[in-house]
Amino acid sequence: MSAFRLLGAVTRKELLDGLRDRRSLVTLVFSTVLTPVLLGVLLSTTAGSQRGAEDLALPVVGAEHAPAFVHWLGQQTGVRVVPGPADAEKAVLDRVEDVVLIIEPDFMERMSRAQTAEVKLVAESSRDRARPKISRVRALVGGYAGQLASLRLIARGVAPGIASPIRIEDVEVSSSQARLAALLSFLPLLLVIAGLVGGMQIAIDSTAGERERGSLEPLLLNPVPRWVIAGGKWLAASALGCASVLFSLVITVSVLRRIPWHDMGIRFRVTDGELFSLLLLLLPLAMLLAAVVLFASTFARSFKEAQGYMGMLMLVPMLPGMLATMYPLSRRPWLAPVPILGQYALASDVLGGQPPGAAGYLISGVAALICAVALVALTARAMTREHIVFGR
């Protein structure tokens, strides 16, 4: 009887048992579908408000008080002046409008006397969606004022440069791919969490759950080496973890491909090759995380107790992931052998359009699997402890 046939028997049983567990299926769906969809909605709204700022319908109250200004506004690219609402503040508060421009009746009079004329910008700046529009309108008014100032100086024989000692010129050097990578830095973290959560349920149920039901003792009475028992449980948890990463990636990418990236000035391009590279990096990591959960929950007497540990365990992949979002880890190939950090570093290289060589994948994958196998061996050892076998 080969040990591998036994290993297969344990894995099959745990998968059968795990897939019949509604709890594990619900978490699997939750972790793979919900987050990408939420992200998609978030990014679409961002894109939508950007587009709103670029293709601006600007409500103006009192346009008749400043025909030249309003005419100028209407000539700017992407700006359409529309009649403003009777009660501007109410319209903004009721979210009928994001922003309303009010021109005071004495606009022309003050203008002709070269005094400062006033316009009111009615807006609710706590609304994220309105922000790009507000700053666009500010820039428009500022631009018009700047032009008028220059004309007034010229009319008085003064060079306009005297009034503006410093001018800012924006020079954008990041490529559209790099900006995309910055936006996508959440993606590896998302996938890693999906992998962790996907395998978690079955890993807990087959260890802490097994102890809680009192089924560990009968199971260990079979003439099977402990590493086969622990290994089979690990493989079953890994299979669900990997499936979760795979589904999550497919769903996330199909959501991302539907987002109007051009509205944000970004060209979205993630090739199938890059997706495959990400999988190559993250699947061994999902297997490692399954081993971490398996090992930790072997010490829990019940499913509930194990779930209590998971809050802390979630930090294991999340802290480096958040670190990677704040301090980009790209182009640090020497991180490859460090489990978790290495995967984040290499994943950000893949998304930045500079995929690591084959050695990078190999080193990070092998390092993660070595750690996983070590944890499985420790789990098998823990299963020989009397207080774990009999302690309920």
Binding site: M1, R5, L6, A9, V10, K13, L16, D17, R20, D21, E210, R213, G214, S215, L216, E217, P218, L219, L220, L221, N222, P223, V224, P225, E386, V389, F390, R392
Partner: protein, 244 residues
Amino acid sequence: MIAIDGLHKRFGDVHAVRGVTFTAVDGTVTGLLGPNGAGKTTTLRMLSGLMRPDAGSIRVDDADVVADPVGAQRVMGQLPDSRGLYPRLTAREHVEYFAQLHGLDRAATRARVSALLARLGLEPLADRRVAGFSQGERTKVALARALVHAPRNVILDEPTNGLDVMSTRAVREVIRGLREEGCCVVFSSHIMQEVSALCDRIVVIAAGTVVAEGTADELRAKSGRDNLEDAFVSLVGLDVEMPA
């Protein structure tokens, strides 16, 4: 055959098993009788290979349990203290899983599992998930998976605990059948009728040691009581004079 010699086990300050020694031979049913906390379950756990004795030796057929627990487990079938089933698996799946773990091939598994389920009267329930099973049905499933590899040595920890009359009868029938097949059966119990109805030999355990051993008649003779229950109470040293 099961030979236990000078078994000791301590849990911290508690010396739970103090030199338990007995032999159970093939074709007989040996009962471990003792009050709660006497050390029956601890003795059976050491016999199962899952708990290491502090001292003493255990042999099951040709295997040394302490040195080669896996080898001993191959020739033992055990119904441990915790019956622990998987609520989402059916009765048949439970038995098939353990058959696979014993290395039985597919054809042998199928035939053996069906025969066992029929013998325990579990056929109508075979393909139902065990989540809704009664105590008796759960015990029968646990018993079926313990016997799936046709073990020569069968160890049962309080097999009729919490069962109704019908289930108790079914379990007794199985135990008698195993004896007829020439198996070595050891079971523990604190129920007198159980032991006297089934056992060829009785080993009385109290406070971690064997206090008496023999047939029911021998035990009655040794204690000078006619009634096995009185004999038991006398042997385990709980004999207190009743006020007149």
